[in-house]
Amino acid sequence: MEHKVHNTSTGQEIMLRGRFTFADHEGFRGVVQLMDEPGAKRIVFDLSGLEFVDSAGLGMFLIAREAAERKKLQLVLRGAQGQVKRMLDLGRFDALFTIQD
């Protein structure tokens, strides 16, 4: 998985690309640490470039959710398609996250 960060007026938009799997824990730890930066109110994960996610990837979104809650940040998952969208549906993530098309 590769990620790219864009600063916005309300926080950060993080674009994830490729396959988000059990092999990405170390890289995603750095993404979670972005939430420690002061001033942010909203974090958006842009998933439109993500091709595949496994159960570990879903678990990492839940880690990010808990980090965001502790910092009182709004967390949005945007643009999931194909297998990634089906996995979010399977995990009933709409009950846990703000999901946007």
Binding site: F52, S55, L62, I63, M87
Partner: protein, 222 residues
């Protein structure tokens, strides 16, 4: 059966075996389109220099199946299950439409084999926000451990019309019988989470373990 040390295209149906010294996703992706029956990672420096394979090697090649024998370090770095499924589609074992479910189930089985089997990591630590940094550090340490890094994972697929079987075997302590019982999505410290074995059960016709508990046998109707 032929053994080669470089990527020479074999004739189809000869049971040719490829021994790989080092490989990346692009290289192995090209090699998967050639009709090798087995892809064996050569021993690393410091290992016994004899090329070995796992328990299902001969039966898989004899049955005209597809076989991987990789170190934990390599299987962790490569898009292993994507490449294996490329091979299954190329060989006609699954259709493009069937591939997504097979790949996800296989991926979860390989993740369990690597993380919990060969690297001996605990999924409860992984799913706990308060212990996530500790989990990442331990994962890094285990991947750098030369003994664990070299432990192998075996992926062996055989098929007939309407049926596909894939066996994923690691060199860890093995599954307890209760661990593969079908389960519902479970509540963890982080909230609702899909369990890898729950996904496997949902996508396969059956899931069992082999005699010593180190092999997970996935059966699919195709």
């Amino acid at each position: 059966m032929t053994s080669v040390l470089d990527a020479e295209a074999p004739a189809a149906g000869t049971g040719a075996v490829l021994v790989m010294a080092s490989v990346d996703d692009d290289h192995l992706g090209r090699l998967m389109r050639q009709p090798f029956a087995a892809y064996l990672e050569a021993p690393e420096p410091g290992e016994d220099h004899q090329v070995t394979a796992g328990p299902r090697f001969e039966s898989t090649v004899a049955a005209g199946g597809l076989y991987f024998w990789l170190t934990t370090g390599t299987a962790f770095q490569l898009a292993t299950t994507m490449l294996f499924c490329d091979g299954l589609v190329t060989r006609g074992a699954v259709t493009g439409e069937q591939r997504e479910g097979v790949e996800l189930a296989l991926h979860e089985a390989v993740a369990n084999a690597l993380l919990h089997g060969n690297l001996g990591l605990d999924s409860e630590m992984r799913d706990d926000f308060r212990r996530y940094a500790e989990f990442c550090q331990l994962l890094d340490e285990r991947l750098r451990d030369p003994v664990r890094h070299r432990q192998r994972v075996e992926i062996a697929a055989t098929w007939q019309p309407g049926f596909l079987e894939i066996v994923v075997t690691d060199q860890g302590e093995g599954y307890a019988d209760a661990a593969i019982t079908p389960d519902e999505p479970e509540e963890t410290a982080n909230g609702l989470l899909i369990h890898g074995l729950g996904i496997i059960h949902a996508l396969t016709e059956s899931v069992t373990t082999d005699a010593d508990g180190r092999g997970l046998i996935l059966r699919f109707a195709t």
